[in-house]
């Protein structure tokens, strides 16, 4: 694998095909937790972390199920293995690093079956990425999610000073903002190479 191709994969996952703004994955936490900057960045970090775990699990499961010729079990296996691995890691972090747990812990159970996480597993299998590619893809997707999250939180913090119509408060105004951000992200379309 050439470095340039891996870099392009990363940029593609993070900017050009941003999980939130181009694929609409992980919208629920995006709308829910983007109210404040600090919780948004923590959520982003937690999602990146879980994506990495999910990607590693999915790579292993895919190898095993291909050998066993039981591809139809893939979806069920992804869900169960990813969820239980995240639980294990959560317990491990709680024991070994309380500070890290403070930062990530709250969000870990929330995001184990988040669609963005599952999508990393499904996409890398569909596009038959190798091991290194999978890891890079997961990191890129996580970075993209964090970026979108932090941008949105920043805007929403500013917005609190603005006059938003009563009816548009909450979901509606956040969706409009996400639409504008999504249009802005389309400007990255040229830099990532083919999808």
């Amino acid at each position: 694998m050439i470095d340039a191709e891996l870099w392009s994969l990363f940029v593609n996952a993070a900017l050009v095909n941003n999980f939130v703004l181009a694929y609409f994955l992980g919208i629920c936490p995006y709308l829910g937790v983007s109210g404040r900057l600090d919780s948004a960045s923590r959520m982003g970090a937690a999602v990146t972390f879980v994506m990495l775990i999910a990607s590693l699990c999915a790579y292993g499961i895919h190898q095993v199920l291909t050998i066993m010729d039981a591809r139809y079990l893939e979806l069920i296996a992804f869900i169960v293995v990813i969820a239980s691995t995240v639980q294990l890691v959560e317990m491990f972090i709680r024991k070994t690093s309380p500070a890290l747990f403070q930062a990530l812990g709250l969000y870990l159970p929330l995001i184990t079956t988040n669609c963005a996480i599952l999508a990393v597993a499904l996409f890398q299998t569909q596009r038959s990425y190798g091991f290194v590619e999978s890891v890079v893809f997961a990191l890129g997707a996580g970075a993209g999610f964090t970026l979108a999250m932090v941008l949105m939180a920043g805007i929403r913090e500013k917005l609190r000073l603005g006059a938003v119509p009563d009816m548009a408060q909450g979901t509606a105004i956040t969706l409009v903002l996400a639409g504008i951000l999504s249009l802005a992200f389309m400007g990255f379309a040229g830099i990532g190479g083919e999808t």
Partner: protein, 213 residues
């Protein structure tokens, strides 16, 4: 969240069915299951397929989980729900692949992603796991119906404005300039924002239900 959802569970069967359609509409009011709504609503056909697939998974899982509600231990209930849901999603995925391969290709990874739809897990936790099968089925039908309606509205609007067609048939007059933005991801966000606003506008006139934040 489970408590607040449970507190407003209506009593009779008909009310239960209607609640999901409008008053507690999963998308407009509860803002659940947004990801597939935005991702596949660029044409009416995709939106309808996705809506029906989600609704049938919801109904089938609700029936099974509600029948098994005394057997499933409380400690592992979420894992059991996910297993049941994932099974039905796999079945639906294969079914769509067998019936309509084109739509299956267009929807791509979003059919398996029904598993992660928080609407389904939410209904299982808040409703199906505590109710007899008939009540659970009615609730699932209502919620599923509300979901399909929203998805179909969104898909039709986006296809109409973005492509000038409906279900693949051109309906707009010849001079119509398509709004390409509606087919792009940004258009999905704008259309859903419009739908949520319209929903709030319409439900504002009767006595406020105290819904939404």
């Amino acid at each position: 969240m489970a408590e607040s959802l449970q507190a407003v569970v209506p009593a009779t069967g008909a009310e239960q069915f209607q609640a999901g359609l409008w008053r507690q509409n999963p998308i407009l009011v509860q803002a659940l299951g947004m990801c597939p709504v935005l991702a596949v609503s660029n044409t009416a056909v995709n939106a309808l397929t996705m809506g029906l697939a989600t609704a049938s998974v919801l109904l089938a899982s609700a029936l099974v989980i509600s029948s098994l509600r005394r057997i499933i231990p409380a400690q592992v209930r979420l894992a059991s729900f996910v297993l049941v849901i994932a099974t039905f999603v796999t079945v639906t995925d294969m079914l769509i692949e067998a019936i309509a391969i084109d739509v299956h290709r267009a929807l791509g990874a979003f059919i398996p992603l029904i598993v992660a739809n928080c609407l389904i897990l939410g209904r299982m936790e808040a409703h199906a796991s505590r109710r007899p099968p008939t009540a659970a089925a009615l609730d699932a039908l209502g919620m599923g119906g509300g979901f399909v309606l929203c998805l179909l509205t969104l898909g039709s609007v986006r296809e109409l404005l973005g492509n000038g067609s409906l279900f693949g048939i051109a309906v707009m007059p010849a001079g119509f300039e398509p709004w390409v933005v509606m087919l792009l991801p940004g258009g999905g966000f704008f259309a859903l924002a419009g739908l949520v606003l319209a929903g709030r506008w319409l439900s504002r006139t009767p006595a406020r239900q105290g819904v939404g934040p």
